[in-house]
């Protein structure tokens, strides 16, 4: 029994090393993220807007529209990487993007949007992360495509990249718009 205790560090290290090996595999496709919610109705939510002058952000408002829901935070470096792509998407595709703030201070988000530009049609705050939990968010950034019937059609964990946008997101949008 005591003996096992001494082997424990080696065993833990073995598991960690296995993860590192997996991290090296060039064939791995990090964008392949299954979600239990694909093709299911998006969770409903009612959130406070970042800009107090605007109305509450309610999930029913999304109905009848194809929207992108993007979870983000100012402390998140990958979000910074993704940001210009979102701006491009919003402008070129005329696509409303709903931003939901993940574990962050409203002031920090305002500053962030002021410095980097604001691609979002609406920004909502999610103070107790309820909505993020309902969506099954792993971390930020994370992006969902929601169709006109309010169903989740696509989910992407991590920063969007030009390849995913061109090869998956845009064809999907074209299909949904038909």
């Amino acid at each position: 029994m005591r003996r096992l205790l001494y082997i424990l560090p080696l065993a833990v290290f073995g598991i960690i090393a296995a993860y590192f090996v997996a991290g090296l595999d060039p064939a791995r496709d990090p964008s392949a993220v299954p979600s239990a919610l694909i093709d299911r109705p998006a969770p409903s939510f009612t959130l406070d807007p970042l800009d107090p002058a605007r109305p509450l952000v309610v999930s029913d408002d999304l109905r009848g529209e194809i929207v992108l829901v993007n979870f983000f935070a100012s402390w998140c470096v990958p979000c910074r990487v993704e940001h210009p792509l979102l701006q491009q998407l919003a402008q070129e595709q005329n696509l409303p993007i709903y931003g939901i703030v993940y574990k962050d201070q409203p002031d920090a988000i305002r500053r962030w949007l002021h410095d980097l530009g604001n691609p979002y049609a609406m920004v909502a705050v999610d103070p107790d992360s309820r909505t993020a939990i309902d969506f099954g968010v792993y971390g930020v950034p994370e992006t969902y495509v929601i169709d006109r019937e309010s169903r989740i059609r696509f989910r992407f964990a991590g920063p969007l990249d030009p390849m995913t946008i061109d090869e998956i997101l845009l064809p999907l949008l074209a299909e949904l718009r038909e």
Binding site: F20, L24, P78, E142, A157
Partner: protein, 657 residues
């Protein structure tokens, strides 16, 4: 020619290291003094060869020899001399050479000053050290050769990343490496002890100075890096929980634990196998930190995958070094023996609690840092956890640690008297309570945690001073005797007192800056002003200036206290020509109680400029506290007991005297 000489020196060094890794080890097993003796000249020769290689590379940088690919990629003719030199270690290949150089210096130090080490232990330590060096040299020569040539040679060079062209960062990596490599020494001692199958107080006494030296260098390195991020990135923050920062913070946390557990191993002959494990883990964190962050596995998985040879090599090195050491540990540690027994309430108990909390804290940081990697490996995408995670997990672990930090030094070895210790600390407790309530009352709109942070800092400072004055008998015995006790106090005690006080001061700084920081952003035309923290910041003018390898906009901002100009702040926005990269140079004026921090942003095209002003209360205390901690480490290093080494020779000195 000299470049090739450097390259050959590296190859020769590898051969020497391979000899040093094997011959003394076999010699120690067979008790052959001649074989064991090989280790000493080999480590000196190794140092000489690495020094030649390092100087050859440095020369290539100084004379801007762009036929060397590494120089061409990272240097430029117009770069100031300091940054040409710093450029040697400002890139992957060169920094590996610096790492090996440090390793060689430490190895040679053991070879030269380790005369009173048992012969077998010394041979084994130097052998293990040479194994690490061989691994690094193989990696350098086969996967990251700094002496690779370019043909034809480019005319100008790609220049060093402008963010790195800064005095703070020029010295940050060498200090950090000194820390990491110092832990390689404790690792070597740990592995040698496992091979030896024996750990005694003399071993622990030998490990302590290396741990202390490594810890001191790492503390200074982290402080310098944090300071650099604070003034160079222009975001007004000093810690971002960034993977690169965490990579140096994890070995620091474990190294701090090791520093304390080695104390128990030395003084009480207890916690021996735990100390060995910590020594292995601390170096493991140094390795994982340097390599995985460098390889880009965390910031961008794809960058790592693009060079599979390098990635695999890194992993192989990690698995052999750490896996091997842990396997050895699993096999040999049970034979090391339990050592002295102690009650839970005792100095040992307090140090064990310190260890458990520090190790848990390091584990939470590890989990947060590698969470993206773990998720990614499971096919769940690359996402990151940020400050909210660390505030929720790391901070709660620190609170009991800081509370215990006040009590621990007052407990006796073996069996402590908690009630007695606490009764001596009543005054510290009362002061802490008053400070906490005062802060809470004075800044009632601020966060509640601010009061707790300040109270804890006062508690630690108070308890440390109570312990110190109690030790010199202040007020209990005659002033003359007190003075005598003060003079004869071991340097190690001074070191501990300083380091703990430094920690208290740094905590005040961290609390103040996270709780009461003010941030203002506005577009100002010349003559306009921003009010922050009781001062007015008036933009006077923005002019264009020329630097050696950049041009810049420089703003002149008058700092006004009422109508009186207190200071002129000159923040710059620089554009480096070769790398086409802008950097911000914040202007910081410190009052000792707060930093007044101004950053110049972009012009709006209509004569206005974005200006950001941060009022950073108590931030100077962070740097002050860290400097005091480093001073504590240095004072402790001069302790006579550490220089004398093994207890056997202490006796000899005593008899001679």
């Amino acid at each position: 020619m000299i470049v090739e000489l450097g390259h050959y020196a590296l190859v020769l060094a590898l051969l020497v290291a391979l000899v040093q890794a094997s011959v003394p080890l076999v010699g120690a097993a067979r008790r052959e003094p001649a074989w064991m003796g090989v280790a000493v000249p080999a480590s000196l020769l190794f140092l000489a060869l690495i020094l030649i290689a390092f100087l050859a590379l440095m020369r290539a940088y100084i004379v801007s020899d762009f036929s060397v690919a590494n120089v061409a990629d990272n240097s430029h003719v117009l770069k100031p001399l300091l940054y040409k030199i710093a450029g040697v270690w400002g890139n992957h290949e060169g920094s590996l050479v610096l790492w090996v150089l440090m390793l060689a210096i430490f190895g040679a130090a053991v070879a030269m000053f380790g005369r009173n080490l048992p012969a077998t232990l010394k041979a084994r330590v130097l052998s293990v050290q040479a194994m690490i060096a061989s691994g690094f040299l193989l990696f350098t020569l086969f996967a990251s050769n700094p002496f690779a040539r370019f043909d034809p040679a480019p005319a100008a060079g790609g220049d060093l990343n402008p963010l790195l062209q800064d005095p703070g960062l020029a010295f940050h990596p060498p200090l950090l490496y000194l820390g990491y490599v110092g832990f390689s020494m404790t690792f070597s001692f740990a592995v040698a002890a496992l091979i030896e199958g024996r750990i005694d107080a003399a071993w622990a006494r030998w490990v302590r100075p290396w741990t202390l030296a490594a810890w001191t260098a790492l503390t200074a390195g982290i402080g310098l890096g944090s300071w650099w991020a604070y003034y160079e990135l222009g975001w007004g923050g000093w810690w971002y929980w960034d993977p690169v920062e965490n990579a140096s913070f994890m070995p620091w946390l474990l190294g701090t634990a090791l520093l304390h557990s080695a104390l128990v191993a030395e003084k009480r002959d207890a916690l021996k196998s735990w100390t060995v494990l910590l020594a292995i883990l601390t170096f493991a964190m140094s390795l994982i930190g340097t390599f995985l962050v460098r390889s880009g596995i965390l910031t961008s998985v794809h960058a790592f995958a693009t060079d599979p040879t390098r990635g695999l090599f890194i992993l192989l090195l990690l698995v052999i070094a750490i896996g091997g050491a842990l396997a050895l540990y699993a096999w040999r540690a049970p034979t090391l023996g339990a050592g002295g027994v102690f009650r839970p309430v005792s100095r040992e108990g307090a140090l064990l609690l310190n260890n458990l909390l520090l190790v848990t804290a390091a584990a939470t940081v590890f989990l947060g840092t590698f969470y993206p990697l773990f998720l990614d490996a499971l096919g769940l995408g690359t996402v990151s956890v940020g400050p909210p995670y660390y505030i929720a997990t790391f901070v709660p672990l620190m609170l009991p640690l800081l509370l215990a930090m006040g009590v621990g030094p007052l407990l006796a070895w073996k069996r402590g008297d908690l009630a007695g210790a606490l009764s001596r600390l009543v005054i510290a407790g009362v002061c802490a309570l008053i400070a906490g309530i005062a802060v809470w009352w004075w800044k009632s709109d601020g966060p509640f945690m601010a009061g707790i942070g300040i109270a804890l800092a006062v508690w630690i400072a108070g308890a440390t001073l109570v312990e110190f004055f109690g030790r010199i008998g202040f007020g209990r015995i005659t002033p003359r005797d007190t003075l005598m006790r003060l003079v004869h106090l071991p340097r190690g005690t001074f070191g501990m007192t300083l380091a703990h006080l430094g920690m208290a001061i740094a905590i005040v700084g961290m609390t103040g800056s996270s709780a009461w920081k003010e941030e203002h952003i506005a577009i100002l035309e010349p003559g306009g002003s921003i009010a922050a923290g009781g001062y007015d910041y008036r933009l006077d003018a923005v002019t264009r200036i020329e630097g050696p390898n950049y041009w810049a906009y420089r703003a002149q901002i008058s700092l006004l206290d009422g109508d009186e100009v207190v200071a002129l702040l000159m923040p710059e926005k620089r554009f480096y020509r070769v790398q086409r990269m802008p950097t911000t140079e914040a202007a910081i004026r410190t009052t000792g109680l707060a930093d007044l921090y101004a950053v110049l942003g972009d012009p709006n095209g209509e004569g206005g400029w974005t200006v950001r002003i941060y009022h950073e209360p108590l931030v100077p205390w962070i740097w002050g506290g860290l400097m005091i901690m480093v001073a504590g480490g240095l004072v402790s290093l001069t302790d006579r007991r550490l220089r004398v080494g093994a207890p056997a020779s202490v006796r000899r000195v005593a008899e001679a005297g």
